[in-house]
Symmetry: C2
Subunit: 621 residues, 2 copies
């Protein structure tokens, strides 16, 4: 065997039936052919246990483990790791062969160890799953050795830059944290499916991703076809398709659906993402919200209280300056009523008090926060009652025409409180204070600083309801706040043509700790109303002809929701970004450092798809 | 309310904050606004039962049903249908209001009926789920009326052309057959997931579909990005990604994965399709096959016998002329040993006998079959022993130098048998006879003709094993029979550079009734061997750098499989094409008559993606 290979390495010309094969680049081959033959011949690796399951009940048993050599010390103490955990291995002092083999095995090689489970000495017992035992090795062999210097070690979590971690994701996934994230994600989705299919009789239907462009909404990736000038679009959601399923009589549909959006470089967004997409017929908004509460109650690892509390859009804006309020913190926005001015003034003054947080508001933090405040068309002042400097804040209050004594007394300002005050147009004041509130409170939490601002509502889901149906675009035209298929609130129908901005949509958002994790609505099932709304939005119904046709062909009343799985899972496992719960994420600018995608394609491909690349927009003559 | 709307229909100009809204095309609106307001206001439709669940145990109960008006007769007998079944509704003779309403309601409108369940008269009881009862209506109302003439009725299944059915899929899905197909599909996939996750501890991991082009293999759709000249490719399978997961320590991975292939117009292929994709570490081919047997045993609606039988590639070729043998029929290919010739001849003569099938082999059938035989470089004769015309076949046998007496006696030819004989190069003879065999036997079955050719093995899964690793392309170069990551059989390693065409791959295909429903293999986990194979295939490893890097970083031995879900489900439910088990399929040429995809895109989109359309390949100067 070896001789044949070495002859071959020497450049043997081998002929067979039709062709002479001559492998020029024989340097590609390993200089040790034994290395590449062995693992193929021995093609069954029987492990008796994983590296995460042995405990004192296994003491005395002969076991065989397979895994990655995570660590070794003095060629006698080794740690074997797989996706389930780590096990400590001890090589007996007189096992010279194993010691020799262990010495020359690079860390992170795949190895197999056989041996006997023993209880660790009392002093070395650790409170981890396999911390009670160690395996005394009587056999050790390398299954597949690491051939190169690895870009980072799997011992120091998060020491590598994120870019490096994504580029070498096959190493990064070995971290226990990544293993946990991916495994918990799988479990959550399975529980959701289980509830929907087995308890509620839902049907999972796969809908196409190669579809026609949806008018309005996010930019959709286009996919050229062999027909010149004709493109598919990658769906941004199965919205239209699930509505068509309702018309088709699949009255309880769901799908864990892959969706696509070309949003350019946005942090915490991915070109492709996953949503739990769901639609029901003959239902009300209440039915959809109740269903989701039950789905989450059944599948969420922490105990949830249902029904979830609700907040109207207008209350959320008033109290938190955002439609994704973070109720894991207290400190709502309050009205500053102590403004004393004789001039008629259309501005509003509002504030947020973070009690006992003054001492942490350093110059550096202030500088970071000023990035948020500087571009707003709103006047802001920050009152820092550190070291009881009530006096020094007086000037700031007077500048805002606020009576300092009344202010301090009415709002119970105490020493060590921090207060943000903003004055300007009401909507902008609310938005800015909302941003400052969340930014500073999250910064405190990220630094591990707790205080009276922490709320018991952390980890509690919240419904946002009563959104407006329309908003005005910059050019004054009407836009959908959500999408053009959202049904208007029946009580507001009479306003549709008199004051459309006051019409509420039958829309509901699900929010967790300040992040929107889902949104849905009752849809318009009446074709005439749908055409009316599309026309108000200046969307030509020709591109939605199939939807109008469907609504005219016997459409049941229907509504649904979509939950963002990536965000939901990242909050569930406490990951810092959604990328940590995605097996192979792309960077924020849509690149995949692992494969090098996107990349150039061949001229043959371009010709086949009848496209040419233009590096810049041609000048219009 | 009404007055406001009618003022609006008259063309009222309504102004608000920023813009005058004037809906020009008010003819879009229904002339009966009551029609479009009603369903929105009444937004809860409480049904007590579906249209498929009432039986004699409900007699006497008050019920409310929601559904589609499938049929009505004499304005008094109606059938209400939903995704679960149909229920007969009787309107009492004196219910004039309901009779009037029913009369003017177009079929397929969405309606709701309340009434009392009664037992049908004995003579009218039918053996269908709701066949014992009828509902005596005391309330009937239209929820959403059909507004147009529908392109086809839901009463006559399969009368509409497939193109029309796909274009109006929201109607087509109302057919009980389509409902069943989609619901059974969902159930099968749920059972598979349940087995893999809950019984075998597999992890479902979602892998990206926007990736880098895989060298070799099918044509992949490309997706332009905002970076000029850079494209994603839509994955044809998660093959590389799941191998990277193995290197990352997810040792039991699966995914119900969406895959993409641009194969142009091929019947029974879709631009996007679904596969059960699966991979395991530290396993053997046996382990993968056993696992799949258990998955199917657990999830398949019919009782299966496991383990599945196995057939080697070479036996399958010899006996059935194909690697997807249809064992639901008997009649293997046999050797014709009665050839009498003095010339030295390199040709092979083989035959297939279909006993008692002569009478069905009409001139028309023969003509259809000749489309298969005409272009093959093989001589063919068809012996038709209809009406005992043994004599007339003698000449054909003599033309093939076959001794007629010996032939008839050795192969037990009897009256009414049909025999295909072919002579030529062995491989081509086998392939041709294999095609003729399956074409004619499937034609017989499609005509409802049964006979001694039917085998007891219908509906039984079969493993094909021992495939060759390589085949020769037309230019004489080596190609992978499956893909370049398939591990060679360890016993054949010594042939790799001496006679690569004799090397078997550790590959296995799963076949059901003549259709390949899955395929998998042990993968190469040794980087040196992988580089060697890529080099033999003339694939530059630069485009697979990430995979080689991964194999060099501690890759466990691993293998897996992918099952084609669309095909599997179509065989399970007995659908004629895979399109019947896909909610929104595309036509064989990749068009979606429903949405009109693919379609043109805006110049703004083309500019954003830096592409230009060229209608034909430019002339090279």
């Amino acid at each position: 065997m070896k001789s044949i290979l070495f002859r071959f390495f020497g450049g043997l010309r081998i002929s067979h039936k039709h062709k002479n094969i001559f492998v020029v680049n024989y340097r590609l081959f390993s200089s040790e052919p034994s290395l590449w033959i062995k693992p193929v011949v021995k093609n069954v690796y029987h492990r008796t246990h994983t590296c995460g399951e042995l405990n004192s009940s296994h003491v005395g048993q002969n076991v065989t483990l397979c895994g990655w050599l995570e660590f070794q010390r003095l060629d006698r103490f080794a740690v074997l790791r797989d996706g389930y955990g780590s096990t400590q291995v001890i090589v007996p002092e007189n096992s010279h062969e194993i010691i020799k083999e262990l010495r020359r095995t690079p860390l992170e090689s795949v190895v197999t160890v056989s041996g006997v489970v023993e209880k660790r000495p009392e002093s070395q017992i650790k409170k981890v799953p396999t911390g009670e035992i160690e395996v005394i090795a009587n056999d050790f062999s390398v299954i597949n050795a690491v051939r190169k210097k690895l870009p980072f070690s799997i011992r120091n979590y998060n020491k590598a830059s994120e870019n490096l971690r994504i580029k070498h994701r096959y190493l990064d996934i070995r971290y226990p944290e990544m293993q946990k994230n991916l495994r918990e994600r799988s479990k959550l989705l399975m529980k959701m499916r289980n509830y929907l299919i087995n308890k509620e009789n839902f049907v999972e239907v796969e809908t196409p991703t190669l579809f026609r462009k949806t008018p309005g909404g996010a930019r959709e990736y286009i996919v050229p076809t062999k027909c010149a000038g004709e493109f598919y679009s990658l769906v941004q959601s199965p919205q239209q398709l699930k509505q068509l399923l309702m018309v088709g009589g699949i009255d309880k549909y769901f799908q864990i659906a892959r969706c696509y959006r070309d949003e350019g470089a946005r942090p915490d967004r991915q070109p492709e993402f996953t949503q739990l997409d769901l639609e029901m017929s003959f239902c009300s908004a209440e039915n959809v919200m109740e269903l989701i509460e039950k789905v989450l109650f059944y599948s969420w690892p922490q105990q949830l209280q249902i029904p979830f509390p609700r907040l109207s859009y207008s209350d959320a804006m008033k109290m938190y300056g955002t439609d994704q309020p973070d109720l894991s913190f207290k400190c709502p926005i309050f009205e500053v009523t102590e403004v004393e001015t004789y001039e008629r003034d259309s501005t509003t003054t509002k504030g947020v008090k973070i009690p006992q947080a003054a001492e942490f508001f350093s110059g550096e933090v202030k500088k970071e926060l000023s990035k948020i405040t500087k571009d707003s068309a709103v006047e802001v002042t920050i009152l820092n009652y550190k070291k009881k400097n009530f006096k020094s804040n007086e000037k700031s209050l007077l500048n805002f025409c606020i009576n300092p004594e009344k202010f301090i007394s009415n709002h119970c300002i105490e020493s060590e409180d921090l207060v943000f005050i903003a004055r300007g147009e009401e909507k902008k004041v609310l938005q800015l204070l909302g941003k400052c509130r969340v930014w500073y409170l999250r910064w405190l939490r990220s630094e591990g600083i707790t205080g009276p601002w922490e709320s018991d509502d952390k980890g509690k889901f919240l419904w946002l309801t009563d959104f407006p149906l329309f908003e005005t675009a910059e050019d004054g035209s009407l836009n959908s706040v959500h999408h053009p298929f959202t049904a208007p609130h029946p009580d507001d129908l009479s306003l549709l043509h008199t004051n459309p901005l006051l019409v509420r949509g039958l829309h509901y958002d699900l929010v967790l700790d300040g992040y929107e994790v889902g949104g849905g609505s009752m849809r318009i099932h009446c074709p005439d109303l749908q055409k009316n709304i599309l026309s108000m939005l200046n969307i030509f119904s020709s591109s939605l002809g199939h939807l109008i046709d469907a609504l005219e062909s016997g459409a049941p009343p229907h509504g649904g929701i979509a939950l963002g799985v990536d965000r939901l899972v990242s909050l569930m496992v406490g990951a810092k970004t959604i990328r940590d719960v995605i097996a192979f994420p792309k960077t924020t600018d849509g690149h995949d450092p692992l494969s090098g995608a996107p990349s150039t394609v061949s001229d043959e491909d371009l010709d086949y798809y009848h496209i040419k690349i233009q590096s810049s927009k041609p000048v219009k003559l």
